[in-house]
Symmetry: C2
Subunit: 461 residues, 2 copies
């Protein structure tokens, strides 16, 4: 791939890109710890200043009911398409501190990586965007499309005020595509473009029998046992092939295309590595007819997150428990809607109630919509070309089984296709001691984003 | 029924029987509370003295590793049959004290009952035996058979040292029949003879998957969920008709005779009262083909006493739990053996393990054998005749779904048939505030026991 003037300028400025990231990472913007509230604000101010220096025309700290976000804007021509860039400037706590080989907020370069809290999650990936804008500004006078940047300060605390912020900002977030850099590649040397996330809904199931625990001798055999009844219900939520038995559960599921399945099948999946990462689980399991990756990426689930009833201490206590509960949640895929799935699951649970107990299903708040951008969408194609340019290889097409609520907000509230160009490595230790950002990924990331604006302008123009 | 000289003597001495019971009940022999250890000892000494006064030739306080018991003996002729009488002189705690209408250890006669802790459970029922012996001693110079009395001081604390005491006493407990007065009648005005108790075995089932809780987004669908797997196992332990599916589970079950089933069917069972007592359970439930009473008395069970795994707090936590456990127990009927049933259940649980999890079954210590004395056994017939004499009506034949470990010890360690002649009323508030003993039941109980020695001597002679 021929190097452009943008690439050359970026390569010439890499040490400065590194120095600027180090400065931002010195600010301990831990959003979960109220003692660091002033640091989160300082981080936002630092970032807004950096955005202005990079070429954004406006950049400001915007207040929320919690920690502040940063909003920046670079409208070069209202007739051109607009990208909305998302990231976060807050970071995870650092415990256990003693396991860090260098202090978390004194970033240190070692063996080609920058070590420190927030280096890759997500300050480094936000700086990729700032530096790509700077490249366009310095080399060509400005980017080939309009850019808006929203960087929140509460992602590591659940993005609890993000939806209200989006609503308040209204048109100031108007765009044609959302670009998110807050994910990792599939494996080292496998640049990856993520096109889907799962959604979520959760509920609590209560099975109640007698008003208090009963003596299992005097009453056992003649009254229903709520714990047994609960297990009976849960035991019927999956069939022998691992499919969820809730009627209508799969009705709205968008099947992956043949191209997607082929792309997933080509990935260098290593079962031993997967099982190790999965807490040394004894073996893969799940729905028949789908690969391990497909089970996590393109298939919905119904999981028991917790089950509790009766005695749980040492030894034994011969009671019939008065009640038993289960915490249930579904991971959803496009186009399942959490409200519809919640209602279907609740109705099915109620239909499975057995004699002698009463059941109650309580929908928990929270949850969210799944995200999917089709492979043939122009923005995905633009992302592929940009990564091929930046990394010298056609990127893998991946999805994530997790949920990133702001991305669902972009897609379902703002109606934007979402492209996730993340360059972290799987072993970057995010949320753990010794978080790091591989500098080769950082620098190639800047060049990828710089190319992305060009490809995106063409694709959407 | 013609009144005998024994009856007349008993009737003439009823006020004294009451006064003596009051004296014993003044001693707060709460075995569960270490602060009352001296009171439990004083209770034993008081009882031993009472036994000697009643006519027992020897009576002594015998030590255990815990609270002392009382052993008394009245061997009138080694060629005659011998009954071993069992009871306990310790009592339950009295909390909540403020709910007592009169102080628990200042027994008060009100409306035909004696109110106070231990009046019916079990001091009053022990005194029935002492006073019956005294009647024989005073009226006829001594009972028509040999009597041994063992009254333990730890029944309300689990009879933890009883088996070791029985073993140590050896031949000093040699007898032909065990007579226990520590149960209640089926209903007021329904004198009852209890011929069976259920046994017990318990175990803990652990289903383990990953070494730690996993993120249900990143891994959900591709690894087995231990809570779901546990529910799947438990959900298959009963079939659609409520029968336990463990192969061989019912092999050793002694079916009730037609006479027993007819006797149970004649009992004035009131479903509304039953459901009220069962914590207002919504409806009876259980194994098809058996009445509510039969399900509790003659059928074994497999109950979930507790089930626990994963998150149980407020709201939701989207994890796949690393493990889930269930506390299981079986109530057993003759001739099921806890070791054999424990092994059958464990093998069945292991056979139900699904892919991707490992299961472990841990047999909990404790448990015990079921007890059953056939209706046509001479001792049961003697008991029936004695109750008919004492209460003026043929007694109901009942069983109890609970377990009384000392009775199982008599039957299985000492090889004795066991007859349970209990005269408490169902609403005597045992283990609760305002425990009471209906005095009519007490006085008729003395005459029943006095008659029992005569019937038993004939039946076993």
């Amino acid at each position: 791939m021929a190097e452009s003037d943008l690439d050359l300028w970026c390569q010439a400025n890499e040490r400065r890109f590194l120095a600027e990231l180090v400065e931002h990472c010195r600010i301990p913007s831990i959003s979960a710890d109220p003692a660091h509230a002033a640091d989160v604000r300082r981080s936002a101010e630092h970032l807004a200043a950096g955005a202005l220096r990079a070429g954004f025309r406006t950049a400001e700290v915007v207040e929320t009911s919690g920690h502040p976000a940063v909003l920046a804007e670079l409208i070069v021509d209202p007739r051109l398409p607009t990208a909305l860039i998302y990231g976060h400037h807050d970071v995870q706590p650092v415990d256990p501190l003693e396991e860090w080989q260098s202090p978390p907020f004194e970033p240190q370069e070692r063996a080609g990586s920058l070590y420190g809290r927030g280096t890759v999650d997500d300050k480094g990936q936000v700086w990729m965007h700032l530096k790509a804008v700077e490249a366009w500004t310095r080399v060509r006078g400005g980017p080939p499309m309009n850019l808006r940047l929203i960087v929140e300060g509460e992602e590591e605390s659940g993005s609890v005020h993000f939806d209200e912020l989006v609503e308040r900002l209204g048109d100031r977030l108007a765009a044609d595509v959302a670009v998110i850099s807050d994910t990792a590649v599939f494996a080292p040397d496998v640049p990856s473009l993520c096109t889907g996330l799962r959604g979520l809904c959760h509920m609590e199931l209560t099975v109640a029998g007698p008003s208090q625990d009963l003596h299992s001798g005097y009453f056992g055999g003649a009254v229903a046992n709520p714990a047994t009844a609960l297990a009976g219900i849960i035991g019927r939520l999956h069939d022998g092939s691992g499919r969820v038995t809730v009627p209508g559960f799969y009705d709205d599921v968008v099947e992956p295309t043949a191209e997607e399945r082929a792309a997933f099948a080509r990935l260098p999946f290593d079962e031993a590595v997967f099982l190790h990462d999965a807490g040394d689980a004894p073996a893969p399991a799940g729905e028949a007819g789908w690969s391990v990756l497909e089970r996590m990426w393109v298939r919905p689930t119904l999981e028991v997150n917790g089950i509790h009833g009766g005695y749980g201490g040492p030894g034994s206590k011969t009671i019939i428990p008065a009640r038993a509960i289960a915490k249930l949640s579904c991971r959803l895929v496009a186009n399942q809607h959490p409200d519809r799935i919640g209602a279907l699951v609740a109705a099915h649970l109620e239909s499975l109630a057995s004699a002698g107990v009463t059941i109650r299903v309580h929908r928990e708040p929270g949850g969210g919509m799944p995200v999917l951008t089709p492979l043939d969408h122009p923005t995905v194609q633009a992302g592929r070309r940009a990564m091929r340019h930046g990394f010298g290889a056609d990127p893998a097409i991946i999805r994530s089984g997790g949920s990133i609520p702001p991305v669902a907000t972009f897609q379902h509230t703002l109606g934007l296709p979402a492209v996730m160009v993340g360059v972290g490595l799987p072993d970057d230790q995010i949320h753990a001691p010794n978080e790091r950002f591989n500098l080769n990924q950082y620098f190639r990331g800047v060049r990828t984003i710089a190319r992305l604006w060009e490809e995106m302008a063409t694709a959407l123009g």
